[in-house]
Symmetry: C2
Subunit: 244 residues, 2 copies
DNA sequence: TCAAAAGTGTTGACTTTACACCCATGA
DNA sequence: TCATGGGTGTAAAGTCAACACTTTTGA
């Protein structure tokens, strides 16, 4: 049994490739945003007949001359106009039957963007922000992809300063706490939350105040620049190894 | 700019696929073992000229009619003879230049096997166990893949009962502690370690003793069957979403 | 003056770490 | 009888969770 299956990586160059190039590879981006105290995700109406009425994530086939990350980054730029974006690979979904038109393996990324950013503009009328909590079904296996990415995001948020990519540059601690609550779908104690954030030492006090609230304004903060970490695009795959 | 790049997932079926099938997809398996108080990984000598003298991970191209997991599982069975194996996807490496013979995107899995298992047999004379600590360079980007997988394993180990896949069915607490120490590359306090393991309630006391040690024998334990979790093969990609 | 949120500390419960002695076995 | 590891508990430090009152502002 082992014999006929025994095909070494090192022999790739020696075999006929033909049979192996019947698989397409795509990227799908779970683009998270935050608005109105809710975690959102950017979806587009599927125009595949198999999924009529359903929404899907944003993705595209990977071109032979671009990295996976370049491809996801391209999708992001195309769809949102944003070009300095947090992007993280999560998982690759490769079931045989996952795409009705043929064999397509997809690598899922999630990204975090500020929906109010001045560069932000949706390029398609069927492109909309949806509340993550309300999503029941999506086209393809995109619901599973969304769930996987949401779980990964939840893992990250208390350990790493990533959620700031969802906020405008200046924000109050209340806004930050509401964001955490939206992502984790739990309530947090205000005093404990503030203590925890203070200990991390991620923030700079801007000595400015909110000015658009109908109650006592809070102080404004921003993320310390050294914690800003957007895409890993500029670096090689070795960088990916360091990411943990 | 957005126009010419604007290729929707949903349009895959409408375009000519030709250009997109110039990418091959492979899996690479970081097969961890444990022997002689050291964490090992199974490597094969590369027979690509570009990497002469270097070792590489075990991998293979994915066939158009098999899932990613099926492909890794096939590599595992072919190379080790083992057919009930812990397997977990870690990351997909897709840099343009990562493979000298062409564009190959690879999804990395790590797996944990008992090197002393009776079914275990290496099918190739250039296939050997290497101490993870001693590995400096590997062919392709395999060192980065190994590092990424090792980091993932280290993350998993204290939270989830996975390391038992590296041990024979019966083991002593000393063996278990030595294994954790080998994986994490740190020393652990014996009393604290035993307390921590006791709290997790993963183990069954077999009421048996070690009988091959030159000192006072320790009790033998096994993992409670409900924590045995090998491959996710039998389930669909939805399962992958649950994995977090 | 009311409503809303800002801002702020302490206590008790729990978790984590550091640490040492006697015991059982085989050589 | 010696060497090796088995087996066990406690105290101190640190972390986490629960909880309430006064202040500031805008309406």
């Amino acid at each position: 049994m082992a014999k006929e299956l025994n095909l070494k990586t090192a022999e790739i160059e020696k075999i006929s490739h033909i049979d192996y190039f019947n698989i397409a590879i795509s990227v799908d981006c779970v683009i998270f945003g935050y608005d109105n105290k809710e975690l959102k995700v950017l979806l587009i109406k599927s125009d595949l007949e198999d999924f009529s009425g359903l929404y899907s994530l944003l993705g595209d086939l990977v071109r032979p001359d671009e990295d996976l990350e370049t491809a996801s980054y391209r999708v992001l730029i195309d769809r949102t106009g944003m070009d300095d974006v947090y992007l993280e690979q999560v998982h690759t979904f490769g079931s045989i039957g996952r795409h009705p038109s043929g064999r397509v393996i997809t690598t899922a990324y999630y990204s975090l963007i500020d929906v109010k950013h001045h560069k932000m503009q949706l390029n398609h009328n069927e492109l909309h922000w949806h509340s993550v909590k309300d999503i029941q079904r999506l086209a393809f296996d995109h619901k599973a992809i969304l769930d996987t990415c949401l779980n990964r995001l939840r893992q990250q948020v208390m350990e790493h300063p990533v959620v700031f990519n969802l906020l405008p540059e200046k924000f109050s601690l209340r806004e930050l706490q509401e964001l955490y609550q939206a992502i984790l779908d739990i309530d947090l104690d205000r005093r404990n939350f503030r203590k925890k954030i203070a200990i991390k030492d991620w923030l700079v006090d801007l000595n400015e105040m909110e000015d658009d609230v109908p109650h006592r304004p809070g102080k404004l903060y921003k993320l310390k620049p050294e914690f800003r970490k957007k895409t890993t695009l500029q670096k090689s795959s070795v960088r990916q190894a360091d990411a943990y």
